[in-house]
Amino acid sequence: MGGGKGGVGKTFLAANLAVALARLGMRVVAVDVDLEGANLHTCLGVEAPRVSLADFVAQREDDLGKLMVKTPIDRLHIIAGTQANLAGAQPSHLRRIRLVRSLRKLDADYVIVDLGAGMHLSVLDYFLVGDDGLVVLRPEPTSVENAYTFLRAAFYRRLRLAVVGHGVRQLVTQAMDQRNEKGIRTPLDLLNEIQALDPVEGARFVGTMREFKPKLVVNEVRTAEDVKLGFSMSSVCKKYFGFEPEYLGYVNYDDIARRSVGLRRPVVDLSEQADASIYLQRIARKLLAVGESEQRAADPTGRGGTPE
């Protein structure tokens, strides 16, 4: 769950999707990796828990699973963020890698990770580790711009991890700077450069691009025009970047949703029939459907593995 700047509703969405999925019978863990403004627990109506991700970061606890705390919702646990840590300790590089691995090993059907704002490498890595990377935005220019910047950064980060050759890596690093000397503006420019350097890496690039399937959610829509924004952005991404995010859905601007935040209860739980809840449940069902079809594709025998 990412989306660049704060205030677009990442935490609101993370909390509500977690609840919606739990209500659909999934075992869910919501993890707050926001290092600066952790408050997912508040959205879920949990008092700041004794244990949190801070214990993992400070190496007091190595087993991420032991940091799970119950929530008022059945089947939903939370690993709270590091808000207690005023010293502002950032996890070391090794610790981050360990966290990313541990997230994937948590015993749950769905792990929902609420990312911090911004585009720090750690944020991008948490974003990329997920099966479904959700980018949340609001229908306004600043938020749209942030979403594109975030998508671009996430794609280049992923690409940089995917390519092998040193020269190509350097090229990707150069391209990450929008005002690079080589005049690489779009991924297509970059591809042309890479192709010229090494066709095998070029093929790897195309593969990475095809697999990069972030998902868009537009929050606080008020008009039909706002609803279309997701389609439009998906189209623009395809034409400009070459990868195509999926428009997962939208959530309307809803007074009950606003009130739910004040009451510290996810609106999906507070009022199932509220307009916002219906949209949120729709997104949750769609996520479930995506998970199932991907599982079927990965496991054609139909026995099923552990969805993540």
Partner: protein, 212 residues
């Protein structure tokens, strides 16, 4: 798979599979076109005026060819696609057959039917959700149906008190539903059941209070 816009064929420009049905093309066109309008929020910080103008022209050109059965056949031949039959009748028959290409992007989004539209009662909130999902503003419905915006809003907000007598309200709801292409009969039946319930409740209460 990754081609500059100038080299993309008409199907790629409209983000449709090459066996797209006529109705898919007709529905995809305004959506894609809208993304590249000058005032579109989606191009902000990505495409400048010249680029979006160029894309719009290509989108229009693609649409002109693909909706014309004969022109489309010639175009397919030209880009080396197997010939297809695209008259309205033929495509209507082809609905049942499986598409030979995976339906992606906009085409898939367009085919998705909201799960909550299939069953349950139709109230104002559900009508609004259906309208928003189809990308139709309330003002547009007012223009088409010539129904006062105030009444349309009252329908969506289930503000039954602000709506006129049942016979008129039924007409309004039917026209609304028809404009957003949902079954007008089913919607009106469902909406009016609740409307009448609330009305008779109110009348009963009024009666009771006047007797006291």
């Amino acid at each position: 798979m990754m081609k500059p816009i100038e080299e993309q064929n008409h199907y790629e420009i409209l983000e449709l599979p090459s066996n797209a049905r006529l109705e898919d093309i007709q529905r995809a066109y305004p959506l894609v076109r809208a993304a590249y309008e000058d005032e579109s929020l989606a191009i902000y910080s990505v495409f400048g005026r010249d680029e979006s103008e160029m894309i719009r022209q290509r989108v229009d050109a693609a649409y002109r060819v693909l909706i014309d059965g004969e022109a489309r056949r010639r175009y397919d031949e030209q880009i080396g696609l197997a010939p297809g039959v695209y008259t309205a009748q033929e495509t209507a028959v082809a609905v049942d057959s499986e598409p030979s290409e995976p339906v992606v992007g906009i085409a898939r989004a367009l085919r998705e039917i909201d799960e909550d539209e299939g069953s349950g009662d139709w109230d104002g909130a559900k009508l609004r959700r259906a309208r928003m999902h189809r990308g139709i503003e309330l003002e547009r419905i007012s223009e088409i149906t010539r129904i006062n915006l105030t009444y349309l809003r009252a329908i969506e907000e289930n503000a039954h008190r602000e709506l006129p007598a049942p016979v008129y309200t039924r007409g309004f709801v039917t026209a609304y539903a028809r404009t957003i292409a949902v079954d007008p009969h089913r919607v009106a039946e469902s909406y009016m059941t609740k409307f009448e319930e609330v009305r008779s409740d109110r009348r009963r209460k009024r009666l009771l209070s006047s007797r006291r």
